[in-house]
Amino acid sequence: MTQNLLEVRNLTAGFETENGFVKATDRVSLSLAQGQTLCIVGESGSGKSVTSLAIMRLIDYAGGFIESGEVLFKGENIAGKKQQDMMRIRGSKMAMIFQDPMSALNPVFKVGEQIAESLRTHKKLGEKQAWAKAVDMLRLVGIPSPEMRAHQYPHEMSGGMCQRVVIAMALACDPELIIADEPTTALDVTVQAQILDLLAKLKRELKTSILLITHDMGVAAEIADRIAVMYAGAIVEEGTVDQVFHNPSHPYTVGLLRSIPGLDGERGGELYTIKGTIPSINDLPTGCRFNPRCPHVMDRCLREEPPLMPGKNGQRAACWLEELPKEGA
């Protein structure tokens, strides 16, 4: 068996609150092979961002911590590493792209300087070399006249341009893993199309592994090799894009996909809705966490929590149903 670049095992992370520990992710297991793109999709509060922060160990700075579980990066468990050691890994071996490029960049430094900084720190490049490499990176991500742009400040650039700078920064030290948390959510569709195109190109050419967090099924379908669907802190389904989108086997995935108004077919009719609302993570139902909203709920679902199990279609789903009834509502 070949070793996966990233292997997350039973990761439980969360926050200490007045009411005790709140699990934002509950025994999340993921694996990401070299050169692959894995998308975590889910609605707000499903725990997808916390998962990414925990993998980067940035959750410590967000007021939370990893309670249990392992994060194996190239076979090494980094869940218990000191932040000092993490600093050597972050930015060089693994890098992050955030949602809002304007706040991810420092407004008082030139963008070239911000890219060069990580090169000086991690690659020990000299002043001139680092700057030259920064300009190269800007060229790589498709910024026109990079020599001139490197001297500009973030406010002199558009949102899409800033996101390219953030991507250039993430790529500067040739990381093996890039975690992108909603990288296109703040962007307009035509700019989003540009950025998705860029990410696909980088993946092809640099063979970087990408862990992409998004709430947009369309974006996920566009760029992912595999999809993990999260609901209320846990992964409820995991498989290839085809399996998850064309042959979903968890009722939540089915509901989510049916809730989105399509671009073809009938319109104006009543849209499918998942009844009820997402439960609060400190007040989850017993048994399956989706059971109060599930159209196919059975007795067993109320008592026992289903683990992620291999299903008939090849993907894994956390559901007791042997087979989903067709078009059941």
């Binding site: 558009s158 307009d188 989003q192 199309a193 974006v219 379908a221 108004p261 849209l271 809705t273 997402i278």
Partner: protein, 326 residues
């Protein structure tokens, strides 16, 4: 412009302009204008949903506000039921306001956190109708039930409600005075898909039951497609295409519409995407001729010098392009 005489518009914009002055220097002299809305004419028919799409900065929200006289127009008229609302005096405007309401994007930002929900929904009734406290309370209960909220929770604060519920509060408040026309400015954009579909269903149900007319401003094209009768596409302060929804999605006439449609990723559908070069130009200094010419994949010489006007082609469809994709 050939708005056919048979059209009976509930609301109509005629050559509406909205410029925001750019001031600079010690004396803050006006050095230029951001042309957020630049000479737009279109009408919304009674009972329809007019979807307005475009990317950020194209002026769609500004247009929505000008349609309600929440922002004054720099030039042009907005006719609501035969009356130009931009020349109405304060008293007339107060009467007109009851007929036209707005639902905002961010329900948390548009609901005063220190008001009880009953006060938030009841406030328009207090201001515009001479109702007693008991009457207002009765109406609030009615409205909350209408939008699917538990009326027994009316004496709570907005933060005690979820995002979708807050948006319902915003809708209930907009409906309090039984308006005819509602501008929904990105009303579902901030919501998760499963909540979004619930709110969309509610808006469609209310339209059917109360005979509402919507101006539905959004950037989510799939949502606009689902709910709209007709769709207007804006680019840099101009309306570039107005078409019945099915026609627009089946066969866009304006190159920009085509690019926009091709850019939406959809689960399960692999399609060819047209990637635009460059960024949206600044609305303070829009390109000459057709505003889209700097990025248009089909640009020709004429587009650089001569501005195309919105004209009717193929029945109910209008497009502002010298070379529409017919």
């Amino acid at each position: 412009m050939s708005a056919t005489a048979t059209d009976t518009y509930l609301v109509e914009a005629r050559h509406v302009k909205k410029y925001f002055p750019i001031r600079s220097g010690l004396l803050s002299r006006v050095v230029g204008n951001v042309k957020a809305v630049d000479d737009i004419s279109f009408g919304i028919r009674e009972g329809e949903t007019f979807g307005l799409v475009g990317e950020s900065g194209c002026g769609k929200s500004t247009l929505g506000r000008v349609m309600l006289n929440l922002k004054s127009a720099t030039d042009g008229e907005v006719i609501f039921q035969g009356q130009n609302i931009h020349s109405a005096n304060a008293r007339e405007m107060q009467r007109l306001r009851q007929e036209m309401q707005i639902i905002f994007q961010d329900p948390m930002g548009s609901l005063n956190p220190r008001f009880l929900v009953s006060d938030l929904i009841g406030e328009p009734l207090k201001l515009h109708r001479r109702m007693s406290g008991a009457e207002i309370d009765e109406r609030v209960v009615q409205l909350m039930e209408l939008v699917g909220l538990d009326a027994s929770r009316r004496n709570r604060y907005p933060h005690e409600f979820s995002g979708g519920q807050r948006q319902r509060i915003g809708i209930a408040r907009a409906l309090a005075l039984e308006p005819k026309f509602i501008v929904a400015d990105e009303a579902v954009s901030a919501l998760d898909v499963s909540v979004q579909s619930q709110v969309l269903n509610l808006m469609m149900k209310l339209q059917k039951e109360l005979g509402l007319t919507y101006l539905f401003i959004a950037h989510g094209l799939n949502v606009v497609r689902h709910i709209s009768t007709r769709v207007g596409v804006m680019y840099l302060g101009k309306m570039v295409e107005v078409s019945p929804t099915d026609d627009l999605f089946a066969k866009p006439l304006h190159p920009y519409t085509k690019v926009l449609l091709s850019a939406i990723p959809t689960p399960g559908i692999k399609k060819e995407r047209i990637i635009l070069e460059g960024d949206v130009p600044s609305p303070a200094n829009p390109p000459s001729g057709c505003r889209f010419h700097t990025r248009c994949p089909y640009v020709q010489d004429r587009c650089r010098s001569e501005e195309p006007l919105l004209r009717t082609v193929e029945g109910d469809r209008q497009v502002a392009c010298h070379f529409p994709l017919i």
